[in-house]
């Protein structure tokens, strides 16, 4: 056991205690959390800074507004309903189409308007929100994802998670939905995470659960060596989010839309740690390097250049 602890430490693997004690508690001031915990606020901030986000169709904040849900949804064939204060991807419903009065979910299942209204009502009551506080439901544009990951994802929207520390992208992965995750891109719900080489934007091996895999479990296609398009642009986008929120340690979730390009989906103040397994590397060494050098890096270009130069896979 002691040997294993030593090997983990040598690999620079960041544990949850350390993430909390040395990074989130130290670099993420509590008063900034509402900016990212409330997805409406994140959206507004991003729009103010000129960063693209999925278009907002509407917000339901009160129980009586649910009656107007059907009217609000009428102009849109596909959309996403999510809690403004959700966490871990809970409470997100992706509707891909319609069938008479019914809505088709990302997994192909049909749900009725009543069921959808019930879901929104649950969301308002705080069922999916952090701490169970009353919440709002956001209805927004469903991303038409870029075909680049088509061969290696099973329905749903794959997204790109980039861990940004003090403005420097340190680790990235692509999250691919699987049959088990029902179209959701959250690892704990069964999606797989594929590491991305910061230097080149090419995918590496993947993590499914806590295990390393090389093929997508549903399509069987190899997940490695796929090039993420516009990688430099993505890194710069992620880096800018640091100034947007003021959080020192954050996970930025980006989706690639077929026509709109990269969109910021959400920002996470306590990003998960399995991204390390996906990349086959620990975070600690990279975070240390950034802590030493970040003062010299005064622009987004400099930060991205630093990241691409120092955080190549296996380097």
């Amino acid at each position: 056991m002691l040997g294993r602890i030593r090997r983990l430490r040598e690999a620079g693997v960041l544990g949850i205690n350390r993430r909390n004690a040395d990074y989130t508690l130290r670099y993420n001031p509590r008063h900034l959390y509402p900016l990212v915990d409330d997805k409406l606020q994140t959206k507004r901030l991003a729009l103010e800074a000129g960063i693209a986000v999925p278009e907002l169709y509407g917000v339901i904040a009160h129980e009586y507004e649910i009656k107007g849900l059907a009217d609000m949804l009428r102009p849109h064939d596909s959309f996403v309903i999510k809690p403004a204060h959700g966490s871990g991807g809970n409470g997100i419903v992706v509707i891909t189409g319609r069938m008479r009065r019914m809505y088709r979910k990302a997994g192909g299942l049909l749900i009725g308007p009543d069921e959808l209204a019930y879901h929104v009502s649950n969301t308002l009551s705080g069922l999916y929100s952090l701490g169970g506080y009353p919440d709002q439901a956001i209805i927004e544009y469903r991303v038409q994802f870029d075909p680049v990951f088509e061969a290696i994802s099973y329905q749903g929207v794959p997204d790109i998670r980039i861990i940004v520390f003090l403005g420097v992208p340190v680790l990235a992965m692509v999250r691919l939905p699987t049959r088990a995750s029902e179209g959701k891109a959250n690892l704990h719900q069964g999606a797989i995470g594929v590491g991305v080489d910061i230097a080149t934007g090419r995918t590496l091996s993947a993590v499914w659960g806590n295990e390393t895999v090389d093929e997508h479990p549903d399509t069987g296609n190899p997940v490695n060596d796929v090039e993420v398009p516009g990688w430099d642009n993505l890194l710069r986008l992620a880096s800018r989010c640091c100034e947007l929120t003021g959080l020192g340690y954050q996970g930025v979730d980006i989706v690639l839309d077929r026509s709109l390009g990269p969109l910021i989906l959400e920002i996470n103040a306590r990003p998960g740690l399995n991204i390390q397994i996906a990349n086959g590397t620990g975070l600690v060494h990279r975070l240390r390097a950034v802590e030493h050098r970040h003062r010299e890096l005064d622009s987004v270009q400099a930060r991205v250049a630093f990241a691409r130069a120092h955080f190549a896979h296996g380097g």
Binding site: L8, A21, D114, E115, N210, I277
Partner: protein, 507 residues
Amino acid sequence: MNKRHLYVLSGVLTIIALIVFAYKVFVLHFPLSPDTTSDSWEIEVRAAFRAYNVPVKLSMYVPRSTSQFALIDENFISRGYGFSAKNVNGNRRITWSTRKASGRQVLYYRAIARRVGSNYPVLEAKSEPIKPAGYEGAHRAAADTLIADIRAHSADLDSFVTELIKHLDSPGTDENAALLLGRKPDNERRIRVAVDILAEAGIAARMVHGLRLRELQRDLQPVSWLEVADKGVWRPYDMTTGASHLPDDYLRWWHGEEPLITLKGARELNTRLAVRLIKESALSSAAIRGKLATPGLVDFSLLSLPIETQAVYQVLLLVPLGAFLLVVLRNVVGVKTFGTFMPVLIALAFRETQLLWGIVLFALVVGLGLGVRFYLDQLKLLLVPRLASVLTVVVLLMALISVISFKLGIERGLSVALFPMIIMTMTIERMSIVWEERGALEAIEQGFGSLAVAAVAYLVMSVGALRHLVFVFPELLLVLLAATLLLGRYSGYRLTELVRFRALTRE
């Protein structure tokens, strides 16, 4: 950065706690384990007499608290009598008086004497007046000869007194002593003569009366011994052995020549003394001892609270213990539980149900509640009404389990009522959500984790020695707090992470 601050804070908390702890253990002798018992005696003086319609005044010596015996719960029972107490010459004396009384009268003095020390109490004797014996003629000559004789055989005060007692104890061999003692001397007479002779030799001494504390005895006679002023303190001497040491069951009551009770205005005084042994825990006697030594410390401790409140705190003080365990299990081991402190509260409920039954009942209520919750899910209820419905069902389930188990003759089933129902309801709700969103496996894993943590917390909280320690030495919780603070900055791996990140340890 703040780490030094944290270390200093934890260190200071620990040191303070350990100092208070050490003081209570080594100075006040608070018991470290729960079952040490010590002895207390109930003492009763019953004074009965007949009054004849004239003013009556009864004076009685009563004992005072010493470092050997503490007197508590003193009661002076008299009907229609005025009562006063004062200190006379180092004695405590009470006086009952009435203008008019007739017929048989009974007055009581009751107290509990609790042993707080085994050594004879230290009483100051500073420049005590020496009352000359006033011997004349043959008596004076006998006394002088006796003193000269004893001086020749003794080196210091102690051996002088011992030698004197030896002479007085066997007067047949010493005609001087026999002359002074008179015919058929009793113990009191011998003490009185000893006091006189010591006075002639320029040594202050006095007669002391007390009780010998037995298991149970009625019609007890006071015992008397000699006290000699030696280097500023009164030292006791046993008149039969001559030793400057008394058995530790002698309760010192009063000193002087006067009897226990003096009665004026009435006749047929009948005095009865009784003692009865009461066994009780060493804890209360340590508390009394603490009260005598440092009044503040015990007065502001849990032991000064009423017994029922003490019982509440005995449970409450265990909660931090459970919480600490939870911190270790969650942050160092990495066990997943429903709700942060839910397992501790369940563990408290286990205290009443016992472990096995607790787990069975908990699983039963949560299992059935989950079934109901899944059924309610079809009705698409709003969150709060749904929670209230589950709560109602939980309460009904608990009642049902109690009734059925009672009918079946399983007493333990009744204790299901002690489960915190709100916590159960929230557990059911959380579990059903995890079940839906992350699958049954995860839900059962977390449920099992919670139950396992509750069981471990219960086992730790039911260690009698620990329970005793935190209640008697609540300052030890500061040590626990210091450890918790340090764990608050623990940034090492959780044990479960060793498994989680095992892919990264393979080369």
